[in-house]
Subunit: 447 residues, 2 copies
C-alpha cells in the first residue's frame, strides 16, 4: 500500500500564493483527457514501458536460477539507465546489508574512475563472478571500456571458459555488443528497441540482477501492473496517482516558480531510488529551457545540511518526502537515561526518524514550502514495482504537459562527440577542431 | 598544486549575457578591501576557522597513536558538520578502498535510520571498537540517540571497561555530553566555542579520525595554512582564490540568475567533499530568501543522468568541476580490440575519464553554461587541507557579499522544536499543539 499525502502543496495549507487551488488542478481535466488518449495511442511506441508489466519473464527466471547455482558475485557493467534502476531495486527491496549476508553478492561497475573500478574488482574473484554488460546502444563508451578490461581479465584468468562469465543485455539487432554476442555465442538478453534506457528497469535490464539477488520479480511486475491498471482506469486528476504527481510538479514549476524538485528519502534503502528519479526527471524533462532540477536529499541527515536553505532560502523548491512505515531492524533506547534526555527513553531509532520527518514537514508548511509525502507500508517488490511505474508514467505525462519529448536526450550527444574527437575516433576530426577552439584557457589561477 | 580554471565563466568564452566581464569583477575591488578588513577583524570571533591551521595538535596525535595500537575500528557518531568533514578527508586522502586494506577501519553513524545503524554495527566488533561521539551542542538528537544505544551495548558487552571505548568531542563547557564526559571521566576533546559545526573539519572534530586513519594531519594543516597565507596577502580578486570563487558565484547568482551551484566531481574519492560543500554552501548562504542551491553530481556517471538538463534545461546553473590529475590505480585497454572500437586501444580508464570531462566542458561552453574547473595534481593532505580552507573562506566571504550571517542556521530550529514537542520533551507542549494544527491531512490518495 502506498499513500500519497499532498495536503501540504494545496492552498488550504499554504495560502493561495504558494499553494495550489483545487480548481487549478480541476482546470486540467480536458487536457488530461486528451493526453490520456495520446498516451495509450503511443503505448507501443515511445511509451513502451507500459508493456513491461505484461512481459514473459520465464527466461530471466531460468537464467537467474543457473547463475545463483554457479556464481558468488554478479556484477552489472552499465551506466545511467543501465545501472541506476538495478541498484534501486536491489537497495529498496534487499536493503543495504544484502552483500554482508547473501550470495551472489551484487556490484555495479558504473564509472570509468579507475579507483572505483578497482574497488569492485578487489572485492570479487573473477573465477566465481558473472558480468552482466548492459547498454541499450551497445556502444556506450564507459561501459564498453570497462567491459574490454573485464574481458581481458577473464581471458587471462579463466581461459577458454570466459564466455560463461558474461551475459550481454542490449538491442536485439544493433550495436557492437549485439554483434559481439552473436559472433561469440555469448548468452544475451534483448532490450526492446522502443524502450528508453531510463525507463528500462522493469525490462531485462533490471529484472535479471533482481532475480539473481532473490527478489520476487513476479511480484515486482504485479506492482507495476497494478500501477498500469490504476492509471488506465482513471482520468480524474485526484484519482490517478501518476497524473496527480505530474500535475502538482508542473503547476508548482510553471505557476509558482518551483524550479527545483527535491526528493528527500527518510529511509536510506530508498537512496538509490532518488538517484534513479534524478535521471528520470532531469533527462526526460530538462530540455528547450524547461524542466525542474531534481535534487537528492536524505533524512534526517540533510536536516543538518539542507533544511536551512529549503526553509529560509529562495522559494524555488517543491519537496517530495519518501517514507517507509516498516523497518526490518530497530533499536530501542533503554537503560539508564540521564534526566536531561528523558524524552528519548523507550523511543526506538525508527520512531525518532519518523518524528524528525514530521517535525520537518511541519516546519516546511509553516514556512509555506510545498511538500508531499509518499509513504510505503513496506519495501516489498510489489510496492517498489508500483512506485517505479508511477514515476515513469508521471514523467511521461509531464513531458506531454511541458510539450517536450520525454524520451529523447539530444543534448547529451554534444559532449560524447567531443570525447570521440579527443579519442581519435574516425569521422570526428571536425569535433576535435571545434573542441580546441572551445577549450582555450584564458583565465587561470595556479596556487 | 591546485589550478582554478575560470575561463569558462567569463564573457570572452560565453558572451556578455551569460559570461562575466573582467570589469564586473574589478568593480568589487573596494568592497573586497572593506570585507577583507572585516574578515580579519572577525578572525577570533565567528571567522574562527581561520585560526585552525595554527592550533596545537600534539594531544590529537598522541591519542590517535594509542587508538591505532588498541582498536580495530573507529566509529564517528555525529551528523552534519560533525560527520561530513570526517568522511571528506578520509575518502579524499585515503581513497575508497581504505577499509578493505587497513586498520583501524573507519565508519560513520550519521543517521537514525535503524537499518543504516545496523549496517555499521553488523560490520564491527564493539569489543575492538572505539566510538568518537561528536556534537558541538552536546545534545543533537540523532547523535545522542545513537550514542545511548551504543553506550548500552558497550556496558552489556564490555562491562566495567566501557569508558575506554568512548571519546567525546564537544563544547568545552556546555551541553549534555560535556557534563557526561566530566562526570564519568571519559576522554574528551573540545570544540572551540566560536567555531561553527560546518567549519569544524580542521579542528578536533575532523583531525582525530584523520590521524587515526594514518593521514598526516600536520600536512593537512600546512595546506590550510598556505590557504590562510594566500588569502591574507591578496585583496586582488584575481589573485585571492577564495574571494575569486565567492565573487564568481555571487555575480553568477545575483546578476546572471544562476540560482543553482552544481559541483561535479570527476573523481569518486571527492564524492564526500561535494557532500561537505553542499552543507557549507546551503546552510551558510541559504537565508533571507537568498543563497544558491548546491547540487551534487559525479562524472562521468551523471553525464548519463544530468547533463541533458544542464545543457538544454533552464539557464539557472553554474557548474564547478573537480578533478585530480593523479590516479593511484589505472587499467589499460589492451588485447584484441574489435575494429569498431579501435579508438579505445591503449587508452586507460583514467584517460577516458579525463577526456569525458573535457568533452563535457566543451559542450557546456558551447551551450553557454558557465563552468569552472578546480584541478588538484594529487589528493594529498596538503591539497585537501588547502581546498577545505579555500571553500570555508569563499563561503564566509560570500556571506558578507550577500549581507547574511554565514555562521548561523536559525531556520533549522523550527523542525527540531516540533520534533521535541512530538517526543514529549518538557517545555515543548506549545510546539506540539502547533504541530497538530500544521499537520492536518486534507488531501490524501491511497493506492
Amino acid at each position: 500500500m502506498i499513500k500519497i499525502d499532498y495536503s501540504n502543496v494545496m492552498s488550504e495549507k499554504l495560502g493561495e500564493r504558494e499553494g495550489i487551488l483545487v480548481q487549478e488542478i480541476e482546470a486540467y481535466r480536458q487536457i488530461i483527457l486528451d493526453l490520456h488518449k495520446e498516451i495509450y495511442n503511443r503505448k507501443d511506441k515511445d511509451f513502451y514501458f507500459m508493456n513491461l508489466p505484461f512481459q514473459d519473464i520465464s527466461k530471466i527466471k531460468e537464467t537467474a536460477r543457473k547463475i545463483k547455482e554457479n556464481f558468488d558475485c554478479f556484477v552489472v557493467v552499465g551506466i545511467g539507465g543501465s545501472a541506476l534502476g538495478n541498484q534501486t531495486v536491489q537497495d529498496a527491496v534487499n536493503g543495504l546489508d544484502y552483500n554482508l549476508k547473501n550470495f551472489p553478492k551484487f556490484y555495479v561497475l558504473d564509472n570509468v574512475d579507475p579507483e572505483k573500478f578497482a574497488l569492485v574488482m578487489d572485492q570479487i574473484d573473477v573465477r566465481k563472478t558473472i558480468f552482466n554488460v548492459i547498454t541499450k546502444s551497445g556502444s556506450t563508451v564507459e561501459t564498453v571500456a570497462n567491459f574490454l578490461i573485464v574481458l581481458d581479465m577473464l581471458k587471462t584468468v579463466i581461459g577458454d571458459n570466459w564466455k560463461r562469465h558474461i551475459i550481454i543485455t542490449t538491442d536485439p539487432e544493433k550495436g557492437f555488443l549485439r554483434k559481439f554476442a552473436n559472433q561469440e555465442g555469448i548468452e544475451s538478453f534483448d532490450i526492446p528497441p522502443n524502450l528508453g534506457g531510463r525507463f528500462s528497469v522493469l525490462s531485462n535490464v533490471g529484472l535479471l540482477s533482481a532475480a539473481v539477488c532473490g527478489i520476487d520479480i513476479d511480484e515486482l511486475l504485479e506492482g507495476a501492473k497494478y500501477g498500469y491498471q490504476l492509471c488506465e482506469k482513471s482520468i480524474d486528476p485526484f484519482g490517478n496517482p501518476a497524473y496527480l504527481i505530474g500535475l502538482i510538479h508542473y503547476i508548482a514549476n510553471v505557476k509558482k516558480g518551483k524550479t527545483i524538485s527535491v526528493m528527500m528519502a527518510y529511509s536510506e534503502r530508498l537512496s538509490s531510488f532518488v538517484n534513479w528519479y534524478r535521471q528520470l526527471w532531469a533527462e526526460s524533462l530538462g530540455k528547450e529551457g524547461l524542466g525542474q532540477t531534481p535534487v537528492k536529499s536524505i533524512g534526517s541527515i540533510d536536516q543538518h545540511s539542507q533544511i536551512q536553505l529549503y526553509i529560509d532560502g529562495p522559494k524555488d523548491k517543491i519537496v517530495t518526502f519518501l517514507n517507509i512505515e516498516e523497518s526490518f531492524r530497530d533499536f530501542e533506547i533503554t537503560g539508564d537515561i540521564p534526566t536531561d534526555l528523558e524524552y528519548l527513553k523507550g523511543k526506538t531509532l525508527k520512531q525518532i526518524l519518523d518524528i524528525e520527518l514530521e517535525g520537518t514537514k511541519a516546519a516546511l508548511v509553516k514556512a509555506k514550502v510545498p511538500n508531499l509525502t509518499i509513504t510505503l507500508d513496506k519495501p516489498s517488490p510489489f510496492n517498489i514495482g508500483l512506485l517505479i511505474y508511477l514515476y515513469e508514467m508521471a514523467t511521461g505525462f509531464s513531458g506531454l504537459l511541458y510539450k517536450v519529448n520525454p524520451f529523447d536526450q539530444p543534448a547529451v550527444e554534444e559532449g560524447k562527440n567531443f570525447a570521440y574527437g579527443l579519442m581519435g575516433r574516425k569521422g570526428y576530426e571536425e569535433k576535435l577542431n571545434e573542441y580546441k577552439n572551445l577549450s582555450k584557457i584564458t583565465h587561470l589561477l595556479e596556487i
